[in-house]
């Protein structure tokens, strides 16, 4: 590979690149590898994969476009970037569906070979955008990616039809040159990934090098760019997606609780990768069962929990609907259980591959009867690991099902994660009951399955196989203490209150809500209150507002039920509270109901995460500031 360069190299503090192509073009693979190399190089990174629900929509159509956005930076970043500054478009459909997202003045790198009449027609282009002047506000580079890839494929001895499939590696090579990425890691990765198919390995290697060299030698680009390594906290890092972090968090939690992990799950987008990941790690004693349906998945997890395992079920919205009855039973049985909902656009089948935060009220209230349970939500891909540990801590300590909310954005998005020292993970050890806990009137010792710990109100967990503690539990109302079936009206009321009190009491056992307010709680005129995956966009927006010399506070909820005990105090300390949510205002509704505070909703339900600029604009509006005055967004980290 040529190393001499006559190009100049321009320094950038950050860049947002979007790779877009047909579903079959390998854009996810390309984007993931570019991210991985950038992380290894030392940049901070954040990603946003965006792909259709269809496995392969007809080639070249708008419906079949798959994209992967990555933000790389020389400083710490919080989001995958509001708008790409570079779009790599492998065909007209990819250009058409993504060009509007590109910042004005941005760069478009298009595969000119794909812009024939037929392809333009499939993408509903009346005229060729490359020649009709409609892209005048962008810098457009037309690169014959397909023909150059075919050329090197021929050298490798690959049939033209197969050779064409390496064109994403050409694109990867070109962008790697453009952003001065080291080539060795990618060459190594290609070597490993395609080790079993040497011909493909060779073709991809050649295409990658061809792309790199094209950038180097073609008199097309005036400059290439350098994004220096970020100054991240010292430590060992890995790149992790939310679903992988969640799976690892569950393994770690089971390990810390000394419980065997059992997952009962039915495949559903975007949760299936947790099932896939956990199925790989049987050496940890992890049992995974692909159940016949969503209900069996949670049922088996409850059966495993009854037997003393850490029972887990994973799903997304439609599956969460189906599991509702079983979750209610777990509340009545008071058994530990982890229910993971990777939220996606609803209602019904909705948008399987697009993100949303619209299951919060379902998690809160989606069961008949008074059926409260704790809810936690992850904020970032790597935070899914901590959230899994926290969910398990609460579930085993309080003998309750816990719903863990993540979403499609966190599930598939990746970020560098500074690995924790496993020796410092929390101890989640749990004691099973081993002895009778009550005496009959005649003094005979007996075991009462619903005799509670006075402080936590948790009932004992007595697992089959323990002599003398034989007992029956069920989904009928039971008498407090003995656990016998009871239809007594006063007992029922007592039990309803007791179950509510048990969950509410967890508020004393969770961290107080931290508020990021430079002047201390109540200092800024506006509080932005978020939950879950809006963390990055809100934090980035807050940086931008502060860069204008304005004041704004930020708090992000991980515990949605119960709320941290200081939440009321926090929201009442601000004149204005803004709640950005990827729903129609579900957290805002809860906060208003609970604290009688006039929290305002900033809603977005487009299947994509908030952009920092959108939240920034809403904050400025609340502050009564004209957003057109003061600094341009390029000057502020996001």
């Amino acid at each position: 590979m040529s190393t001499a360069t006559h190009h100049q190299t321009t320094e950038l503090d950050r860049v947002v690149i979007r790779f877009a192509g047909d579903s079959g073009d390998g854009m996810q693979l390309t984007g993931t590898q570019f991210t991985s190399v950038s992380s290894l190089f030392g940049n901070d990174t954040a990603t946003l994969p965006d792909f259709p629900a269809e496995i392969r929509a007809p080639a070249g159509t708008l419906a079949g476009v798959s994209a992967f956005q990555v933000h790389i930076s020389d400083h710490d970043i919080l989001t995958p970037g509001d708008s790409p500054s570079v779009l790599v478009a492998m065909n007209p459909a990819a250009l058409k569906t993504n060009v509007d997202a590109v910042a004005p003045g941005g760069t478009l790198i298009v595969n000119i070979d794909a812009f024939d009449e037929r392809a333009l027609d499939k993408a509903d282009y009346r005229s060729n955008p490359l020649t009709d002047g409609s892209l005048a506000s962008y810098t457009v580079y037309e690169v014959p990616m397909t023909s150059l890839t075919l050329e090197v494929g021929k050298e490798a001895g690959v049939k033209p039809r197969d050779a064409e499939r390496s064109k994403n590696f050409f694109a990867l090579g070109l962008v790697s040159w453009l952003y001065s990425r080291p080539v060795e890691p990618t060459l190594e990765w290609i070597g490993k990934r395609f080790a079993t198919t040497p011909l493909v390995q060779d073709a991809n290697t050649r295409a990658f090098k061809a792309g790199y060299n094209f950038g180097e030698t073609a008199e097309l680009f005036e400059s290439n760019y350098q994004v220096r390594p970020a100054t991240l906290d010292p430590g060992v890092y890995t790149n992790v997606t939310g679903n992988t972090a969640l799976a690892w968090g569950l393994i770690a939690a089971a390990h810390q609780a000394h419980l065997p992990l059992f997952l009962g799950s039915y495949p559903i987008t975007p949760a299936s990768d947790i099932l896939h990941e956990l199925s790989k790690h049987k050496q940890f004693g992890v049992r995974t069962m692909q159940a016949e349906d969503e209900i069996a998945g949670i049922g088996a997890a409850i059966g495993a929990a009854f037997g003393g395992s850490l029972g887990v079920t994973t799903t997304s919205g439609p599956g969460a609907d189906l599991k509702a009855e079983s979750v209610g039973m777990a509340i009545s049985l008071e058994l530990p259980l982890i229910v993971i909902d990777i939220q996606r656009g609803g209602p019904s089948t909705g948008l399987p591959t697009k993100t949303e935060q619209s299951d919060l009220l379902h998690a809160m209230f989606g069961r008949h009867g008074e059926a409260p349970l704790p809810i936690v939500a992850a904020m970032t891909p790597s935070h899914c690991f901590d959230t899994a540990l926290e969910a398990v801590r609460i579930a085993v300590k309080y003998r309750t099902p816990v719903i863990l909310l993540s979403d499609g954005y966190l599930a598939n998005g990746a970020e560098p994660w500074r690995l924790p020292d496993v020796a410092t993970l929390p101890d989640l050890h749990v004691e099973f009951a081993t002895e009778a806990n009550h005496a009959e009137d005649d003094g005979e010792p007996v075991f009462w399955p619903y005799l509670r710990d006075e402080q936590t109100l948790a009932r004992p967990w007595a697992i089959p196989g323990t002599p003398g503690l034989e007992h029956r539990i069920g989904a009928l109302e039971k008498e407090d203490g003995s656990g016998n079936v009871s239809y007594d009206p006063v007992n029922h009321e007592h039990m309803v209150h007791l179950r509510a009190r048990k969950v509410a009491g967890i508020a004393d056992d969770i961290a107080a809500l931290e508020v990021d307010d430079t002047d201390g709680v109540g200092g800024a005129p506006v509080l932005v209150l978020g939950w879950g995956s809006t963390f990055g966009a809100i934090a980035a927006a807050v940086r931008r507002v502060r860069a204008r010399g304005l004041k704004v506070a930020h708090a992000q909820l991980v515990h949605l039920n119960p709320f941290p005990s200081n939440l009321g105090e926090v929201v009442r300390a601000y004149d204005k509270v803004l709640v950005p949510e990827a729903n129609l205002g579900q957290l805002a509704k809860l906060v208003r109901a609970e604290y009688l505070v006039d929290a305002k909703t900033l809603s977005k339900v487009q299947g994509v995460p908030f952009r920092a600029a959108e939240i920034e604009a809403a904050v400025l509006d609340m502050l009564g500031v004209d957003p057109t005055v003061t600094p341009a967004e390029e000057e502020v980290a996001s």
């Binding site: 890092y237 790690h281 049987k282 069996a296 059966g303 500074r418 993970l425 089959p464 029956r472 069920g474």
Partner: protein
């Protein structure tokens, strides 16, 4: 699990302190008694025994057993039991269910527990009616059944539970009835001892909403003429003098014959260990319903890989191959880089 050091117990030890609340005269009483009297003879411990159920009259049974138990939600017991059985192979897990619970709302879980061959003993109390909800037709009710929900007669064709279980290739399938304790106990014992999923249909009389549903075949005076006992390795014959039998015709059909007419050698010899379930399936459909000669006993008892054991084997193999799980190694498995001070 047979354990020779198991303490001697009596029926009383297996009986909980809960008052039994079925209607007086219900067939469930005799099934409960048969079970409680049998358990002391199975060589098992109370603490290692779990009864799981869904919803329905039969589903109350776990409350009456002095063992571990769970009265769960409608139709889900086979799924819950699967999670328990695969994570706790040391336990004896029984599933108590009914025709509505197992074949209507929980039909999916039943067939999948059977096809996976999970180590469960499933007892289906079939009374051909919904009892707990007070008398609607069930998935085993005869077509044309007049009930509160079908005043003009039911339209659905009934399931034959034994056929269904055989269709799912259950490795142990049997039928018994609530009027014969000895037969029940023999079938329950064999179902318990079988490794893998065992399915037992029990014809059970609901004297309130469907009284006499099985009277034509289980009544004391008609029983010998209308129940066809299946005995492994024996020609299939029945009647007071064993005067009638079953033959397999050259066209592949089963037919009831007079033994005197065809000769004993022409009778079909019952083979419960036959791997191919087709003949057992045919036997299960010899009667069109419980009003004409009906086979009872063990239709099928074959060996097959048990799901939980296979799952646990994979864990052992992973452990041997990769060593015990190492958290730090897991977290670095995707490749790492180090940021220095």
């Amino acid at each position: 699990m047979t354990d020779t050091t198991v303490p001697v117990t009596t029926r009383k030890d297996w009986t909980s302190d809960q008052e039994v609340r079925w209607c007086p005269g219900c067939g469930d009483y005799s099934i409960l008694a048969a079970l409680q009297m049998l358990l002391p003879d199975l060589g098992v411990r109370r603490e290692n025994t779990v009864f799981l159920s869904g919803i329905g009259c039969a589903a109350r049974l776990p409350y009456y057993m002095n063992t571990y138990g769970m009265h769960s939600i409608h139709g889900r017991a086979p799924a819950i039991a699967t999670g328990l059985a695969v994570t706790r192979p040391d336990l004896d897990v029984w599933v108590i269910t009914g025709d509505g619970d197992a074949l209507s709302i929980g039909g999916n879980h039943l067939i999948h527990a059977l096809r996976r061959n999970v180590n469960l003993t499933i007892l289906l109390f079939n009374n051909q009616i919904y009892g707990l909800t007070k008398g609607q037709y069930s998935p085993t009710s005869e077509q044309g059944k007049v009930t509160k929900s079908t005043p003009f007669g039911s339209l659905d064709r009934p399931f034959n539970p034994v056929s269904l279980a055989l269709g799912a290739e259950a490795t142990f399938v049997a039928r018994t009835h609530d009027m014969d304790r000895k037969h029940m106990q023999e079938v329950f014992r064999r179902a318990h001892d079988h490794k893998g999923a065992s399915f037992v249909e029990i014809y059970q009389n609901c004297n309130v909403f469907n009284d006499g549903a099985f009277e034509k075949i289980t009544g004391r005076d008609v029983r010998t003429e209308n129940l066809i006992p299946l005995v492994h390795g024996e020609p299939i014959r029945f009647g007071a003098e064993g005067q009638r039998g079953v033959v397999l015709d050259p066209d592949g059909r089963l037919r009831i014959v007079e033994v005197a007419e065809v000769g004993e050698d022409a009778l079909l010899v019952h083979d419960e260990r036959r791997d191919e379930p087709g003949l057992a399936f045919q036997l299960s459909r010899l009667a069109r319903g419980p009003f004409e000669p009906t086979p009872i006993g063990v239709f099928r008892a074959v060996d097959g890989p048990e799901y939980g054991e296979a799952m646990n084997q994979q864990l052992l193999e992973a452990n041997e191959k990769k060593g015990p799980g190492d958290l730090a190694a897991l977290l670095t498995s995707g490749g790492t880089w180090t940021v220095e001070n």
